[in-house]
């Protein structure tokens, strides 16, 4: 087993921890938006696993951000580079490896060259993949007209929700510790921190132009 997870996890809640037992709520508004507040629904789900996405030092009293740990979209496995190790999605990838060899060969030469001119970079910028582990249930994905099993999961940075509980207390974490399943290694937590920082720190082109010094 690789060192993706901490072999001696602390009892403390940490950024990137896999936990269970938390409800997940999504506020859904109607198609017509209204300043006087239109229709809405609150969808509550009970994901088997969730990930703490509050930075370690900010897990204080009563509030924490979580996102559900979800199954990987199966097209990811069509690229042998990602199928061999889906956690490669968490790190910078050479341009040629971002697509399957078949997809790469179908690209026009100019497109290939343009991509090759770019430095190694992230793919699927809102995803961070969790390596399979005996404590995470394996599931089936389609594979060459059949199915194969995987235990890799991922978190989508667009799925972050907020929970409140008196049990969320870094000073008294005994309740929270009961729900903790896995803790990332220091290296894996650094990679999660780097990728989520990149996701939120991107500057849109139109802003970039205005921010340039005259």
């Amino acid at each position: 087993m690789s060192a993706f997870y901490h072999t001696k996890p602390s009892g403390l809640p940490r950024f990137g921890d896999v936990v269970s037992g938390f409800h997940n709520a999504t506020l859904k508004l109607g198609a017509k938006l209204d300043r006087d507040f239109g229709d809405f629904d609150i969808a509550v789900t009970h994901p088997k696993y969730l990930v703490i996405l509050t930075p370690c030092c900010s897990i204080e009293k009563t509030v924490m951000s979580l996102a559900p740990l979800i199954q990987l979209p199966h097209p990811v496995f069509k690229n042998p580079f990602f199928a061999e190790d889906p956690t490669r999605i968490n790190r910078h990838v050479p341009a040629k490896k971002t697509l399957s060899p078949t997809q790469w060969e179908k690209l026009p030469v100019e497109d290939q060259q343009e991509r090759m001119d770019k430095a190694d970079g992230y793919v699927f910028i809102e995803f961070y993949v969790y390596q399979e582990h005996d404590l995470l249930l394996r599931y089936e994905i389609p594979h060459d007209k059949e199915t194969r099993k995987t235990g890799h999961y991922m978190v989508n940075f667009k799925d972050i929700c907020r929970v409140e509980s008196k049990a969320i207390d870094r000073g008294n974490h005994s309740e929270l510790a009961k729900l903790k399943i896995l803790e990332l290694s220091v290296q894996a937590r650094k990679e999660l921190r780097d990728k989520i920082a990149y996701y939120f720190a991107r500057v849109p082109d139109e802003d970039q132009r205005e921010l340039l010094p005259i």
Partner: protein, 77 residues
């Protein structure tokens, strides 16, 4: 740092035997990177190198130099 680079090549036999196809795969392991050489059937031939994943840049420097490749359109379900 060439972090996730595969290298495919052929080992020629100096005695004139059949050349052996192999590929080197970089396996991240905590603070280390292990370069393993795999044969045609992905069998382990040897461990080529163990190196430290040393990145001496600060978090801000890493963030400034980060890029991404837009490939989502190729992976629609």
């Amino acid at each position: 740092m060439p972090e996730l680079e595969d290298r495919t090549d052929v080992l020629t036999d100096a005695t004139g035997g059949e050349p052996l196809r192999f590929r080197d795969v970089v396996v991240p392991f905590d603070r280390f990177e292990i370069v393993v050489r795999l044969g045609p059937g992905d069998e382990l031939l040897e461990i080529v190198e163990v190196r430290i994943r040393a990145d001496f840049r600060s978090a801000e420097q890493r963030l400034r130099s980060a890029r991404h490749h837009d490939v989502d359109e190729f992976y629609r379900e």
